[in-house]
């Protein structure tokens, strides 16, 4: 099922939950789309600056350079920066898979096996000038059963707000609890 939420900056997005089996859940968070007005604002700013330079230097290569810069900049932004959807696949006995799909179609995946996962928690931290809630996976310290060796933050680009994070947290905890009751 799908429901709407807001990101930390106020832009709208959606959370989609799918239950594949009793111990397997997929949670996909869709990021706010690239806005047409911001795209046209950046393009106009770059082209106005290039036209200003052309008027100063009377060199027409400035204009073609500006067009190429805008085009390549947009391609690089869509391929490396703009995340379209971030998803979390929790398989009870196996592990957790984190996938980010970019706007150009590229997908990057990380898998963390269940033996390394200590817990999935909602942590709050100072980010830039705000305090934000974010979901993170705590990795087990092999030497110390109570210790945390690493923190893996999730949903970095979509940054959903607390109501969406609580839903994801509850879904994950239902699966993580099963490994305490049935350890083999």
């Amino acid at each position: 099922e799908e429901r709407r939420y807001r990101s930390a900056s106020g832009a709208p997005g959606a959370l989609r939950r799918r239950q594949h089996s009793a111990s397997c859940r997929e949670l996909a968070v869709r990021c706010p789309r690239l806005q047409l007005r911001s795209l046209s604002a950046v393009t106009s700013a770059v082209w106005l600056a290039a036209y200003g330079l052309f008027v100063l230097t009377e060199n027409s290569t400035v204009l073609s350079a500006a067009i190429f810069i805008t085009l390549f900049g947009l391609i690089i932004y869509l391929h490396f920066v703009k995340v379209d959807q971030e998803s979390l696949l929790v398989i009870g006995s196996l592990g957790i898979q984190v996938t980010s799909s970019y706007a150009s179609g590229k997908e990057s995946t990380t898998f963390i096996e269940m033996g390394q996962v200590k817990d999935v928690v909602i942590n709050e931290a100072i980010h830039m000038q705000k305090v934000i809630y974010y979901l993170c996976i705590l990795l087990q310290d092999p030497g110390d059963p109570q210790g945390v060796s690493e923190v893996v933050p999730l949903f970095q680009s979509s940054k959903p707000r607390l109501d969406c994070l609580i839903e994801v947290y509850k879904s994950c905890q239902e699966i993580l609890e099963q490994r305490k009751t049935a350890p083999q």
């Binding site: 909602i122 942590n123 705590l138 109570q146 210790g147 945390v148 060796s149």
Partner: protein, 125 residues
């Protein structure tokens, strides 16, 4: 160590007041009186008058940069989102568990984040 007025503090305050007035008058004389008059008095070994304007300017620019620098240092020393410093620190790792006593208030301790999350976000059964 109270901040109450004492005779010694009054003397220090007055000495500082006189000293700062004297320093200010010296600075004003050095900045405004033409060099020829000072030379005729026999006072020749003064710094260049360029510094009478340059030093206050340096001071003001340093104060302005200091604001921005402090803001930047704060932002740089904030722990990133993926560091364990947002979860725990040395004192919390080394804390000792006190024994639980009946009918007594539990001792103060750092509660692990998993427990805090369960208390906040999972509904009570």
């Amino acid at each position: 160590n109270s901040p109450a007025p004492l005779p010694e503090r009054a003397i220090y305050g007055f000495a500082l007041f006189l000293g700062s007035w004297f320093g200010f008058m010296l600075y004003v004389i050095w900045a405004y009186v033409p060099e020829t008059w000072l030379f005729s008095l026999g006072l020749t070994y003064w710094p260049q008058k360029y510094w009478a304007v340059a030093l206050p300017m340096y001071l003001l620019v340093a104060i302005g940069i200091g604001y921005i620098l402090l803001f930047g240092i704060n932002m740089m020393s904030t722990a990133p989102l993926n560091s364990t410093h947002t979860i725990t620190d040395n004192y919390a790792k080394k804390q000792q568990q006190k024994k639980f006593q009946e009918e007594a208030i539990p001792a103060l301790r750092d509660i692990p984040i998993s427990e805090v999350n369960r208390m906040f976000f999972l509904p009570e059964k």
